[in-house]
Amino acid sequence: MAEPRYEEVAVGTRLPRLTHVLRRGDLVIYAGASGDFNPIHWSERAAAQAGLPTVIAHGMLTLGVALRAVTEWAGREAVLECGARFAAAVPVPDTDEGVEIVADGIVAEKLGEGRVRVDLTVRCAGEKVLARPRAMVRLS
């Protein structure tokens, strides 16, 4: 897919939706890849001790997955800034089905010099799990 050009996008331009299923094993893989071995992300017992209903996904795993909506649209090198607040935990039950992350992006602002702000909406089981998930990207 051709990358979007600054002149061709408008406030309100929608990015293709991204969906991704997370299972328990994915949390273990992310723990190893990121070096975040906090046991609330793999131990039912540790999660319960921290007052959580079950094991939860790393916030950075959810954000990393969600930002693929931006990099698949604009390219990796386009991303100048990105981030989010982790508003709600993403519980990941120990099931074959796992949970589905759904990320929708929209161009929220054109900032000049080819830069646009993309606002994401990231849901799990219908609930928004990230607050102000955003990226600033530079388009050609």
Binding site: I29, M60, R68, V79, L80
Partner: protein
Amino acid sequence: MALNRDFVGRTYEASATYEVCRVKIKEFADAIGDDNPIYHDKEAAVAAGHPDVVAPPTFPIVFSLSGASEALSDPDLGLNYAMVVHGEQRFEYQRPVYPGDELLCTSTITEIRDAGRNEFLTLRSDVTSTTGELVCRTYNTIVERGGAA
């Protein structure tokens, strides 16, 4: 337990640089389910205009807390790690991260505050190359649940 506010403003430098390698970038991209060839295949990355495979935008989370880990485990800070969750994260890039980069992370505790029953601690980390060039800056807020109760 409330966190020790005396830690606000303290700066910590990682004891060693972090050397980025292709294998780690591939491992990280796999972990976020990203099969974009620019993360996995040097030839594809070069064809896309990069000098080598490139790291995904959230990759600096791998090393950006390396300077502050000692501070966060300092008993004087009073952080109960068992109750910690990630509150917020931002990245500001000067340029992408590539294999061979030797990155030094310098972290400053910029804020400690409470909200409701929770304690919030924010770190800003400057990630620089061996020549002193700023590569990216990260902002990380961790939450100690029940810490302010």
